[in-house]
Structures are given as C-alpha cells and as structure tokens.
C-alpha cells in the first residue's frame, strides 16, 4: 500500500443484541459477563435437539420503525435499520433528507450489509402459510405476502438502509456465511480506501432463530445439546463445550475516511487498519486443527496496518464453542502471533450473546471497537474447565481493564471462509 493510502475510521456504532438494549446496554452486559442465552421462546423447541438460543426481545415499532417498515421487512432488515439508526445518530452525521451544511455528499455514502441467511424467518413463515403448514406441496399463492421478492433476495436489506439515509453510493449485501459481518465491514473499508465513498454504513444482521435453521444445525450437531442449563450453554474454549448457541441481532458501524472525520471534528472509536479474507478450500463445515488459512488472513491484515504481532493487545475470537472451532482458532492465533499469543487477551462474546451467524462478525467488531476506545476487554463467560488444546488467556468470566492499542477480530464460517480485521486506537504511536 502506498503512503498516501486513504485511512478508514469508525465514528458511529449501533447494536441490537440479545439481552440488552442498544450499544450501551450491550456493552454493559458483556463487560458484566452476563449471558443472554435462554430456552427458546419463539416456538416450541421440544422436538429439537438444541432448545437454547440467544433471543432479542425486539419490537421494531418501539424502536422507531413505522408500521409499514415492520410489515414489509423480515426481522433481519428491521434489526439492521434500528442498529443503523443508532450508529448514524452516534456518528453525528446528518444523512438523508434535510442534511446540514456539513453533511456528506449523498453520492459519496455507501452501504455494505452482511447477512448469512437473509430473510430466512419470513421465507419459512410464508412457506408455512402458503403450504398450509407443509401439508400441500403445491403452494397456494393467495396466502402470500406481497413482499416475498424482497424476502427471497436479501439485497433488500441494503436497499432499506440506502433509502433510509439517502445513500447514493455503492450498495450491496455481503453474504459469506458466518464471516459476513467481518467481510461487510472489510468491503466497506475498501470502498473508502479505493476512493469510491467517504462514508459507508457497514454492518450485518441475521435472525435465524426459526425451526428450519435450528433443525439444520441439529442434524449436524453443530449446536449445543445443553438444554438443562441454558444460561451457561455457550462455553467457548472450555473443555466441556459441546456446540454453539444460536443467536440473532445486528450491528452497524459508520465508517468514515479519516480526513473527513477530522474535518468535522468527529469522535473516533478506532481505525480499521487491516482486513483480509482467505478460504481453507477444505470442507464446507469442517476445519483442520492447524488453522493455517486463518493465520494467513490474520498475518495479512496485520501487514496492511504495518502492525507487529506483539502490538496486538486483544483478540476478539470467533470462539463459537464447537470442539473443532476453538481448537482451530487457538492454533491460528498461535501461528500468526507467535510468542505474542501467550500474552494476548482473547475472548469470545458468543459465550454471552450466542452465535448470530453473519451478524455476529459486526457485533464483535462493535465490541472490539468499544474495547479499544474504553480500555476494557470483555470476558469469556461460562469458562471453568481448561482444555489442553485451548491454552491461551481467554479472559475468564470477568472483564479486564486493559489499555488496548491494537485489537484483532476474527471469524470462520461454513464454506471455509476465514476473515480477520484489525482495529487500532487513533492515538496509537506509529513508527
């Protein structure tokens, strides 16, 4: 990268997470080590192997959405809209109609929204209606919502955000499974780096707590069967871990070109210093224990920011709580950070908010940005029994006050995707 590379900072954060309300509620919850996992209430889970999830008590109407917006949109879009409203308000930018004099040029505002499974909940609910609960193979179109095209193609989520904020720049939905939330922010940063936008509304949203999603993870035993103790069911890096806990939610970040942010005196959370993605080309759901490709992505992301491994103070882990993931990821961090891995704080907030598929990458970036800004590292909850194969410092159960100049957030997903993003404090000393 040339020296005059356009730099990208985060100036706004909005979060819709289980067990909490908004960005501050989320931060209070995860730094208190409180968990939001519970027995599923959205439907009767008794016939399912995994009956636990991290649900959001979400009412779009109470959070500022109109009745029309709620009616036409799947839950994943609604949550994205609410998170985006909070992020944009937090940034202090005036976007959309009636923008102030210093508002960004709408042609220079982009949207990158990640989602792994889009409107799966609405697609299933509508299918149940048109097939009379699966009793008729041939659907009866008369019972369908007229907004099903939007449900079929998740790009509607990017459209809703673009319309909401009058963003005429490039817009897209990013759908790389469980790394969608990192990739969407990474692509958004690339839009700014490449000079195609000055501001990008970047984030991710997923709402997969539905019978079909639970059933498909049941059959491959990816989700936990620890139904007896829902509050402690998500146990990343613990020897007793037995699968992930399904979650839902959204997070949106306002990404801004550094000069643009400085000019208007914006409060900066952190810089997006590097982003890289690699594929393992190995298996749709399986991971080799060596973590080579994730390590490659981490190394490249650090190189982009010209950051040495020993500068990394915090790793926000994918930490899904499956046997193979946590071992794979531990190996990848050791491989990429070398001896510095022994000193780094590493935690998985999925222990508290579950695994919301594509959304979680952006929710974790939000947590990581807040950790950098506020000097507090959220813990890994429910940690009790060490696993010899997972032998790093996972910040067990209690948040840690720690100045974090450079943090890493990583993700791994079905399809073999491995992504890493580096966030750095704007006051970090650079050579």
């Amino acid at each position: 990268m040339s020296a005059d590379r356009r730099r990208v900072v985060i100036t706004g954060i909005g979060v819709v997470a289980p067990g909490s309300m908004g960005r501050e509620g989320f931060w209070d919850m995860i730094t208190a080590g409180r968990t939001a996992t519970r027995r599923i209430t959205f439907f009767d889970p008794s016939r399912f192997r995994s009956q636990v999830a991290a649900e959001v008590d979400f009412d779009g109407r109470k959070l500022g959405l109109t009745a029309h917006e709620v009616h036409r949109n799947d839950r994943f879009v609604q949550m994205a809209m609410v998170a985006a409203d909070e992020a944009v308000a937090d940034s202090g930018l005036t976007l959309g109609a009636g923008g102030a004099d210093d508002a960004p040029d709408p042609d220079r505002v982009g949207v990158t929204l990640g989602s792994a499974v889009g409107a799966t909940m609405r697609l299933e609910n509508e299918y149940v209606a048109v097939s009379d609960a699966g009793t008729h193979w041939l659907v009866d179109p008369r019972y369908a919502s007229r907004f099903l095209h939007q449900a079929l193609v998740p790009s509607c989520g990017a459209t809703e955000l673009a319309v909401r904020f009058g963003a005429h720049g490039p817009a897209t939905v990013v759908s790389t499974g469980c790394t969608s939330g990192i990739d969407a922010v990474g692509y958004g940063a690339q839009l700014i780096e490449d000079g195609d936008a000055d501001v990008v509304i970047a984030g991710a949203s997923d709402a997969p707590i539905s019978p079909i999603s639970m059933a498909c993870f049941d059959t491959i035993r990816a989700t936990t069967a620890n139904n007896a103790d829902p509050e402690h069911a998500s146990k990343p890096f613990d020897a007793r871990r037995d699968g992930f806990v399904m979650g839902e939610g959204a997070a949106v970040l306002v990404l801004e070109e550094l000069g643009h942010a400085r000019q208007r005196g914006a409060e900066v959370y952190c810089e997006v210093s590097g982003y890289a993605n690699r594929c393992n080309a190995f298996h749709m759901t399986g991971l080799r224990p060596d973590g080579i490709e994730m390590a490659e992505a981490i190394g490249l992301a650090l190189d982009q920011g010209r950051i040495d491994p020993d500068e990394v103070g915090y790793v926000n882990a994918h930490g899904s709580g499956t046997k193979q993931n946590d071992r794979h990821e531990t190996a990848a961090v050791k491989r990429s950070l070398g001896p510095a891995a022994q000193q780094v704080s590493m935690s998985s907030i999925k222990s508290m908010v579950g695994h919301s598929l594509g959304a979680i990458g952006s929710i974790e970036i939000a947590a990581t940005a807040l950790a950098v800004k506020r000097g507090v590292v959220p813990p890994t909850a429910n940690y009790g029994v060490p696993d010899p194969e997972c032998d790093l410092d996972y910040v067990p159960n209690t948040a840690r006050e720690q100045k974090v100049d450079v943090a890493l957030s990583v993700g791994s997903g079905f399809g073999g995707f491995q992504s890493a993003i580096v966030l750095a404090s704007p006051t970090r000393r650079t050579a």
Binding site: A144, L148, Q150, P170, G177, T285, G415
Partner: protein
C-alpha cells in the same frame, strides 16, 4: 493501465451450455423462453420461463457432491469448470493466487423448499444434513473454492440483478490487493414453485402465455419480464499473471466500473435517471473514455414501461450528445431475467460481440418506444465492436455499469 483481462468464460444458460452454444442460439434467435417444465404453473398466473435445458449435472458434479447441493450450485460448478477449461487455467501452486467472488440472488431454492416442507410435514428429524450448506447464499462460492482448491480472498455479493457486474467490481478490489486471478459472475436457479411465487409478488412478471407477448424490453407492449435460470462464470486475470502462465486467449479487458443506488424507495422506481446515469458516467471515467468511444450498450432491459423509460433517459443523458445514436440491445429478452446470473451472462455476450463483430438483436422488439439518441437494435447486425458498456439494475434501486474493451496486446495499437 490495462485492466483485468477476461481469459475464460463458462455459460450455463437457457440459450445453452457452453459459450458457443449460447452465442449460436442467440444469433439464430432460438426461443429459449418457453412454458415452464417441472411443475404445474396453473396457480401462479405465470407460465413462461427461461429454463436451462440439455444440462446434465452429472457431467460436471460428482454424485456425492450432487446430493449435498442445489441445482443452483450445480450450474455454478459447471460454469466454473467451463470457464477454467476455456482459459486453460489450472490451479497454480500458490493456492492463495485464485479467488472466487460470485454474485448470488436467491440461494438453493429447490433444496430448501424440500427441506422446509419435510420439517413442517414430518418434523425436525426429516431435515437432512446438507440443508445447512446447500441453501445459504455462500454455498456455490464455498463449494467451488473447495472443489478446485482456491484459497484466495473470496466473497459473495447480493444486489439482485446487478450482482453479476458487482462481483466484477469487487474482484477488481481483490486484484488490486494482490490476488492475480478471480472467478466472477454467478448463476441462479429460481424457476421452482416457491421461488416463482416469491418473484411473482414483485408485480413485475409478465402474465402473457405466448413468448412473443411476454418479455419485450423497449417495446410499446412491454408488460413485465420472464424469469430464468443459469448465468455465467468468468475468469479474470491480472495481465502480467495471464502472460506469465501463457494464457492463449484474451476475450477482453475490464476497463471501467461504476455503481450507485437510487436510494429512493424500497420498491418503486426512482423519479428520474440521475443515479443510473451517474453509474454509467463513473464507469466511463474509470475507463478513461468518453461516450463517443462506446460502440454498443447491453441494456438492463427491465421490460416494464416505467423502468424502460428510465433506462432510456439514463442513456440519453450520457450518450445524447453523440453525433450518431449509440446502439443499444437487450439480450436478456432471449433468456428471461436470470437475476444475478443475467448480468454475468450479458458480460459474456458483450465479449462475444467484441470477438465476432456481431450485435445480437433484442427479442420481440416489434414496435419500439420513442428513443431519441438511442439506436435500439431489433435484428442482429454486423458491426465492429471495440468498447461495450454493460448495464444492470437490481430490484430496489441498484445501478451498475461495466466497460469492456477489446484487448490490444502490448506493442500493437
């Protein structure tokens, strides 16, 4: 600076399997839009589609992989195989040197409908082990990366019909950051009962029962579009890398790209063509060319009067000052709209037009609307084609534009 080169094309489309089959079908004007086969369409009010026929997935996909994947992924894997064969491309020793960056639209429809049906009719245990990997939008990209051993930065973008062009836009960012080869484009397989129902709720599908009455972009009787399946996957290579491996054939060069969003309404068309025209201008500026340099435009061709008028307005805004009207054709009229696959297929068609100096006409364009400053191509014609603009729109307001240019090997002019 030379842009990325297109060195391989793989087509799996209603017009045929393989790039040459597609081209000859287009030029012969064969009717690829026909009554839907495979399920009873009586209830849907829509009876026509562009389905991929003469496609035997077993020729391209191993049996154990077929049972894990949807027809959508079969067509993607086949198109990728054909593209690699066309390019003479074999995975290089450095597995990170190849990326897969596809557009997706609707995912694994048939597979998913079957599993949801089973879940509700019989219970959770009827859901098979592959639903979690067959349906989601990243399935084809992931399977392709695994099958062919490509470990480069890979991705999936969703912007409805604009996706095929947008995958190329994102591939350029990947290449700029050091990955020399990227598979782009995408396919779609949404001619299935539930996906048809979903698409029909947009109110944009023609209900005509005769192909000649149905999908008629820029015609006075335009009344909606016909859906279709399939698409194209293309191999893009950084020029130095293509040369180094001794690539035998270059289809053309990706010279420019631009994307905007109307940001007007969640489903209604924009009030004017400001943002659509801007996407075209960005792509031309990116390519370092003027409207006069463009020999041909492959239009989005929505086939609805209001959307067609907006597209013509955008073209007039950008090309209206030319001495000669710009030739505009809409080849999607032959296949139906393939969502993300459609714009990828139009890239293939544009490169064929450059190669052979032939412009395919627009199907069923019997009575064109007034289009001042625009030369709507009704019948195929012979014409030198060096520079093509491919346009695509996605439902909700996505506008994308791509400039393709005939490749001039170094040392020639």
């Amino acid at each position: 600076m030379t842009g990325l080169l297109v060195t391989g094309i793989g087509v799996v489309a209603p017009t045929g399997v393989g790039v040459e089959a597609h081209w000859s079908s287009l030029l012969r004007g064969e009717p690829a839009i026909r009554p839907i086969e495979g399920f009873d369409t009586e209830q849907y009010g829509v009876t026509l589609a562009g389905q991929v026929r003469d496609f035997d997935p077993k020729e391209f996909v191993a049996p154990q992989l077929m049972v894990q994947t949807d027809r959508w992924t079969w067509t993607s894997l086949a198109a990728a195989t054909l593209a690699a064969q066309d390019a003479g491309y074999e995975a290089p020793e450095d597995a990170y040197a190849t990326s897969v960056f596809l557009a997706a639209g609707s995912g694994g429809n048939e597979f998913s409908q079957h599993e949801i049906q089973g879940l509700w009719a019989k219970g959770p245990k009827s859901v098979g082990a592959y639903q979690s990997i067959a349906w989601f939008y990243a399935a084809s990209t992931g399977q392709l990366s695994i099958r062919d051993g490509y470990k480069g930065p890979s991705g999936v973008v969703v912007s409805e019909g604009a996706g095929g062009l947008d995958s190329i836009g994102w591939a350029r960012r990947v290449a700029r950051r050091g990955t020399p080869a990227v598979l782009v484009g995408g396919t779609e397989a949404g001619v299935t009962p539930y996906a048809l129902l979903c698409q029909a709720t947009s109110g944009r599908l023609s209900t005509a029962t005769r192909p000649e009455d149905a999908y008629k972009p820029f015609d006075r009787r335009a009344n909606g579009h016909v859906i279709g399946e399939g698409g194209a996957i293309l191999l893009l290579e950084e020029p130095g890398a293509a040369r180094a491996r001794g690539a035998q054939h270059v289809w053309g060069e990706v010279a420019g790209y631009g994307a905007t969003h109307d940001a007007h309404h969640h489903e209604d068309p924009a009030p004017d063509a400001t943002q659509y025209a801007r996407a075209i201008r960005i792509a031309l500026a990116d390519a370092g060319i003027t409207p006069d340099d463009v020999d041909l435009v492959l239009a989005d061709g929505a086939g609805l009067p209001e959307l067609d008028a907006l597209e013509l307005e955008a073209l007039q805004r950008v090309f209206g000052g030319r001495a000669t009207p710009v030739p505009v054709t809409a080849p999607s009229s032959w296949t139906g709209r393939l969502m993300a696959g459609g714009s990828a297929l139009n890239v293939a068609t544009a490169l064929l037009a450059i190669r052979d100096g032939i412009v395919p006409g627009t199907a069923h364009l019997d009575d064109p609307v007034d289009a001042p400053g625009v030369d709507l191509v009704q019948q195929s014609r012979v014409q030198d084609v060096r520079t093509v603009v491919v346009l695509a729109r996605g439902f909700g307001g996505f506008n994308s534009s791509l400039v393709l240019r005939r490749h001039q090997p170094e040392g020639t002019s």
